[in-house]
Symmetry: C2
Subunit: 344 residues, 2 copies
């Protein structure tokens, strides 16, 4: 009998998730049925959307119930298989969540080829965050060569991919991040045309200076004060794909006034703006193959770079997740739950 | 030498336009050049967008300068022609603005056939307001049969067309209007499935009762408190074409808090909403022919009805315009500047 150690939702967080909102338990896993495999988690991806699942607000995805294992994309090793499609030793992409071991139906897994790319990228630049950037920017943002694309949280896995894809398409990429170190990475690692520190007292002026021709696409994944400054720079017909609002995920009440909503709608009207919320999974049937081909090509061609921030040990997931919500990490945040047998 | 009496912008209004924001002058018109015609205004269309032109805020359209004649669509009679395309006595659609006579280039005019439809409809149900409804609803709102479409200012020329087109496409049409008389018209004249009075103390509950399956398309032409109630009823993937915000056109500052903008973006994200500002003229090249064909057919077939509210005398335009902004009139508001020789 194999056991798994799981982190479960113990309470719906109010504001920033606390340790007491999680509980760690070790339980036996059921025996494998036909078509199932036993998995050992190697990497657990931590992503901002998880905060939304820890809430009962109406959303595209069902809320977690109290007692549920926290969800999450994972890279796993197959320990045992009762499926003809997988064998022990295979490395697979799955959705095991915050736990060390799991039983999964083979049909929900995809085999990874360590010779093609480091397996961790399957939950990063070649996985959900990369596809969020790709589908949101290209399907909804539709940047044309010479246009200006702005993205916040630009040093994160989604934002950095947005900027680099924008440049691959001939657009000007302007990244917004918190602090000079992240801004340096935007310019030196990711090749943004300009990097702006939203913590700077001159942020609004810096944004204006970096967008002399206004903003044609604002890829929204942050919200809050950054968004308000960006709105003032939008051009006619600007597009605004909305994939996340990490600045407000822990908000417990509407912020104080004045009410910015009427002014926002005035901009939507007078600038013929397109504002479009989306979840990347809606574009998987139509655009995932193109993404895999394009993104692999850009990585091989040196047009797209990525950074990873790897934290060892499942028990550190809650703390690391809080850091993610406050912008502490640089690069794709991964929990290394167990050894990576493919690592060089 | 022909003279024209014009109403010009004397000052940018602060809040509701006052009589002192307008000035009336009578001036000589220039002699006709080749390709020009002399026009006598029959009908002047009054529309909410004009309030936006009386402002210096950034917009898709240039602001009026102080001293400019107020803009507006007009139905005119040709008095004299130096164009081979028009003859004296022709009735034409033009854009003469708030004045009794004008000189226009023939290329900016379109001849109207009084035998096809009352000429006043060229600035109403068969003109800009009708096309605003048609293009916004069908190109951007894309209602499917069985879906629920909600429109505010539903007794107005745009809103009433939105509801009737929605029904022609098999959708459920719910109209919001101010007061029981307008609501009665929605049901009896325009055939909406439900009509809701936004002035009623039970408005929010009434809206919920009228939209048991939620809202799939909200055609936004009002803004303010109505919009906030609608947002709470939107379904996943709801579409929100934004063609006007008459509730806020006279606002001089952002309303008091709390700030609803973060909560709005949360809805955009979690419901995968599409919010799209537009101006009908952007769709003229691609959809105007279809509109003329479809709308004429619906009027002939009894699927689309329209009402007109005709005020006699150019001098009453400022007062009538204020009434328009406060929802005083029912039906398409027209100033009859001069006799209609085609009227039966």
């Amino acid at each position: 009998m194999t056991t798994t150690t799981q982190i479960r939702l113990a309470a719906y967080p109010v504001g920033m998730p606390q340790d007491s909102d999680f509980e760690t338990v070790t339980v036996d896993l059921p025996a494998l049925a036909d078509g199932q495999v036993l998995l050992r988690t190697i990497y657990l991806s931590l992503d901002p959307y998880m905060r939304g699942r820890m809430s009962t607000a109406k959303s595209y995805a069902a809320s977690l119930q109290l007692g549920d294992v926290i969800v999450g994309g994972t890279v796993c090793e197959v320990l045992e298989s009762r499926s003809p499609y997988f064998a022990a030793g295979d490395i697979v992409l799955g959705y095991a969540g915050w736990q060390t071991h799991s039983v999964a139906d083979a049909k929900h897994l995809r085999r990874l080829d360590p010779a093609q790319a480091p397996v961790s990228t399957a939950v990063g630049v070649l996985g959900m965050p990369g596809f969020t950037a790709y589908s949101g920017l290209l399907v909804l943002g539709k940047p044309k060569a010479g246009e200006t694309v702005v993205v916040a949280a630009a040093a994160g896995p989604v934002g950095s991919a947005v900027g680099q894809i924008a440049r691959a398409k001939g657009a000007r990429a302007v990244g917004i991040a918190g602090g000079p170190e992240k801004c340096r990475i935007l310019l030196e690692t990711y090749g943004f045309d300009a990097a702006i520190d939203h913590r700077s007292p001159t942020f609004v002026d810096d944004l204006a200076a970096a967008t002399p021709d206004g903003i044609d696409v604002y890829f929204e994944n942050v919200g809050g004060a950054v968004t308000e400054a960006v709105l003032d720079r939008l051009n006619l017909y600007a597009r605004m794909p909305v994939c996340g609002l990490v600045a407000g995920y822990n908000a417990t009440e509407a912020p104080a006034g004045p009410d910015q909503l009427p002014g926002f709608f005035r901009k939507v009207l007078t600038l013929s703006l397109t504002v479009r919320g989306f979840i990347q999974s809606d574009f998987v049937p139509t655009h995932y193959k193109d993404f895999q081909r394009d993104m692999s090509g850009w990585i091989r061609g040196g047009q797209v770079h990525y950074l990873e921030d790897i934290v060892d040990g499942l028990e550190r997931a809650p703390e690391a997740f809080r850091g993610l919500l406050t912008g502490r990490n640089v690069g794709k945040l991964l929990i290394r739950v167990g050894d990576d047998p493919t690592a060089g």
